[in-house]
Symmetry: D2
Subunit: 354 residues, 4 copies
């Protein structure tokens, strides 16, 4: 109920605040016998971690994961996988400026109202630091999903966006630039724009796109847990996300049926893919693709008017080291949440037929 | 797991195929002591039902709900509310044309692959008829949510869309035209466009927008079950939906933080509302607003190439009476799913503090 | 949460009050492709229904089940199976004597306290009539569990109990007497005792035992959802149940380890079976056996002192037709709940290994 | 599904093997604002830990809990409480004797069959060490349950059992002897018996009883989640438990209704309490009491015939330090699981009425 769990069979429970002792989680329901590449898990964490390039926050957090259980002699045992990432950064900072005041477009105010008080150190539970636990679990889910590829990438930063359809992109370029944009020219423009925004003490939003290939037919459930509905839930649960669309998306709303329908080839594949690889909530074997919109980070390095917990107007200025644009670091998070959704549906699929 | 349930405390389970004996559901977790207006529930069903106006499908289905349990002397008892809507339309039609062939952009193919066979009568479980059960449950949820108003409306049909911000619209106009568009001029344009599309034997997509007012601070949970994530899940689970955005949405991805942040008034309300009434996944007391994109209905009255279950090319033409545009009838469904989400979070909220 | 659901993958949701319009339920997660024997389902219902023999309640309820969905051309489709049993007995009785007064050892008082009021007609939701829905779902679960046999039977009525170990009993005798006791001599004693108790206007408790054969190794989960823990939950959720023990049970508490341990045969089977077919919460391939204790029915045909809802002492006498001993009719309910547990764990088992 | 979670609103997820790096868990859904007494939590752990007295295992495990999240300035924050207990005992032992062989009446064999292999170090996930995490969570649940007292105690060790009704016992004696038996004379007999059993290299079973006082009317749900059904589930999920009964229990099966019914006092309390404080699955305000049967520990210090994983007969002798009788250390576990059940139902109760 309290919403710190995701999944129904392959299930992740996370815990932890940005400046507590540790964050972490428990993966319950991971099948036994998966040989884990632990280095690959850490690689995913490194893609998310602060300080990895010049255009992200310069905080130093090693983000090393410790596994406590559920793995033996290199393989998953079928028992819960407990893990923690210790916070190295949590000490005695000065939080006076946010302890009693509410940062605009942050969760400070609603936490105080909902819970009666809040852990005001660095955003507490509302910090995107929680997503590191998702990346750990997603990396394990990826390793379970043999033969399935999941590629997320930055398709827009502020007003700069990729023009080409995803089928024209070379995903090998994604990790070759700090923006994680597969279009090298756009990547340079985006990087320059982010640097400028940072100089202004400002932030900017963007879009992460994701493409899944190699998924078999049959993942997803007919009514409430349509594959795209759970993917949407997963994406919208990532900090700063404002929108989700798959296949033709919002542009599909403008189209006519005669333009939009995907006609079949004889093998069951389709000639076009406006459906985004999902029919009636169930994967149809074609590529799944979707877009996720992120708002600009709310913490800006400019003075802003706000209120304190007595309802008095105060002026606040962002401190510390923050991301001018969140989407480059969001790429592995989008992939992780995608993998969690697919792993769960893959296990559910095994129960569909007698 | 099988995805026919929605909600965690206020929980709906639905059953039923479009041409089986009945559809229906069970609402579990509805609090005791709510005086129910049964006529208001039927009114919501009537807003969804076929044949209600000249621009929707002309099928005749009375869609009368029968309650089996959970209501006594006009009030909810706290025990599960079982209900059914009997299908009056399910008899001996000729389904030869779809029994062995796969309608393009329908779920026929994936059902056969997933389950080994399918109930081919009129779409079976994949039919949007299932949403009638959601409307029943949503109408009860609405009655539980005293003081909260939920207004959905059509904001776009194909290329025709409302230009004004929602705050300039008069929601009293919504039910005054068959499109359910609160802008009377646009409503006329949309209606004319739908009529033209129908003449062409074609269909068109659209957008339903929704505004929630009067919600207290504190609904929604911090991590995976953010209020907008569950709203997104709910909306994306409605047939034909391709995208969801709330607050600034996809447009917010282009913005800078200095433009996008919502500054506080002294009473905790905000001067702007790019946040869409939700901060960190939790309602902040401002209006919640979001958009839901619907694709064009896949059944068109034109000949289409397709395949049968032997992988042979065949030609198929839509039969029967179908909606040229689904959004007018989707309005009460969007409201119902919204109400289900809010009712559930309202009950969860009661468990947040000691 | 509200507790009207059972199971996690093979999931039953029930609804209905004893004197409402109908009771019924939804089975979600039943795999597709199971050919259903509908007559066998009705046979199970007939084993539970009132009026079936001289020693049970003489109420007349046909208990005919109607399936609304999830079955097509004789097979399960993988979509939810909705069903209802219409109450034929629900009309205009005189409930004055229980409307405002609380029957001793019934749920009347706690319902009024918990929900603020109650459906006072014949026990409402607290009536064992709800278990008819469980029998329907259990009968379907039985049909899913090919190769597994589930035999419940009456092993004690009041002070009369079977002395032999279950392995000496012939289960073919169970349905040959109205008590459902596989020991023909004890069955006669029990029947005579029940007749005498009824003449006294009294009731008596008893024990139902159950034996499961043919279950593969590996059902059940290690920690909280041990196979016997979920079986216990299932049994204790049946009306009037006061205790559950499996394998050596309470008698095992007196034993020494050197007596109690089950030594292995070379094929992994065990020489003894104090474990009751379950090790560490997981089936080990041996017979599962357990006992379920039922209290005497609270409604007796004798005058009893009680209170009304004003806290005043009143005298109440049981009216209508009630069971003098519940265990003969409880036998199919115990089997049904056992089948639901096993079907669920069988589906979960498919997700255990990579 | 994988069964490592307990509870629906107040929900515990545990992880960890007996000889892995750590065990621990996540408590999700604990309300905000509870001032925690951390020393009291450690006290509960100490009641469960090895080495606490002469009649339990002499292993040394400090069992110190570290909290990672969810607590701030001494109070619960409403966010998940992550915690770990590091295993200090997990190093380089010699497990050769159990690596390839199956201990009789242990879970070794079924784990190998279910998962394909197992973590053979000291029982892995099937070890009762996992219950330490339950004790942590239960201790927090106890602190949430203001005004409710939960007293578990040993009522039988092998053939020696308390004769008196619980109402004649002085619970202050429970912690005054190493057996945790409130009858001082019986406690001495039990202790002597356990010492003798240990000398024989044997083990013995026993019974833990539990009494809950101060619970309000209204906890528990009508159908599947009756209060006693979930209590039974909770108790049967504890290692070595073979049976559960509440109120009159198995003895109630022998009784007549006229003897067994609890007549009301004018204030809604009852003159007798065969019901064990629960009517129709819902607490009625009277004492709740129940018994939990534990089998003898399977690890005995005697040579036993068994098989290895090739199906060959081998001889095995218990090594290390084990409990001759598990019930003294099971007392805090029974209390913890009771507290978890009650805390969950207390939160659910808040959602029952409008």
């Amino acid at each position: 109920m309290a919403g710190n769990q995701f999944g129904s069979v392959f299930k992740l429970t996370t815990f932890g605040e940005s400046h507590g002792q540790a964050i972490g989680g428990v993966i319950d329901g991971c099948p036994a016998g998966i040989t884990l590449d632990l280095a690959a898990i850490q690689t995913e964490l490194n893609r998310r971690k602060p300080g990895q390039s010049a255009i992200v926050t310069q905080r130093k957090e090693p983000d090393e994961v410790t596994f406590y259980s559920g793995i033996f002699e290199g393989k998953t045992t079928g028992t819960p996988i407990g893990f923690a990432i210790h916070n190295t950064n949590q000490k005695s900072k000065d939080y006076t400026h946010i302890k009693d005041s509410y940062r605009p477009s942050h969760a400070d105010y609603v936490y105080d109202q909902k819970y009666g008080f809040r852990d005001y150190r660095g955003g507490g539970r509302s910090s995107a630091r929680e997503t590191a636990s998702r990346v750990v679990a997603g990396a394990i889910a990826k390793q379970m999903l043999q033969g399935v590829s999941i590629h997320a990438y930055v398709s827009a930063v502020g007003p700069i966006s990729i023009d080409q359809p995803y089928t024209d992109l070379d995903f090998n370029h994604i990790e070759q630039n700090p923006v994680r944009c597969p279009d090298p020219e756009k990547a340079q423009e985006m990087e320059a724009y982010i640097r400028q925004i940072r100089k202004e003490g400002d932030t900017v939003g963007g879009v992460v796109s994701c493409v899944v290939r190699g998924l078999p037919v049959g993942l997803g459930e007919p009514a409430f847990d349509k594959l795209h509905a759970v993917l949407g839930h997963a994406m919208l649960s990532i900090n700063a996300v404002k929108g989700f669309e798959y296949g033709s998306g919002f542009a599909g709303a403008i189209k006519k049926g005669s333009e939009h329908n995907d006609l079949f080839n004889n093998d069951g594949s389709t000639q076009t893919n406006h459906s985004g690889g999902i029919q009636g909530g169930i994967s149809n074997g074609m590529d799944i693709y979707f877009n996720v919109a992120f708002k600009p980070v709310a913490t800006i390095m400019q003075a802003q008017d706000t209120i304190n917990n007595k309802g008095e107007q105060v002026v606040m200025e962002g401190k510390g080291r923050h991301d001018p644009c969140v989407v480059p670091r969001a790429v592995p998070i989008v992939e992780a949440m995608t993998a969690l959704v697919l792993a769960d549906f893959e296990l559910i699929r095994r129960t569909n037929k007698s």
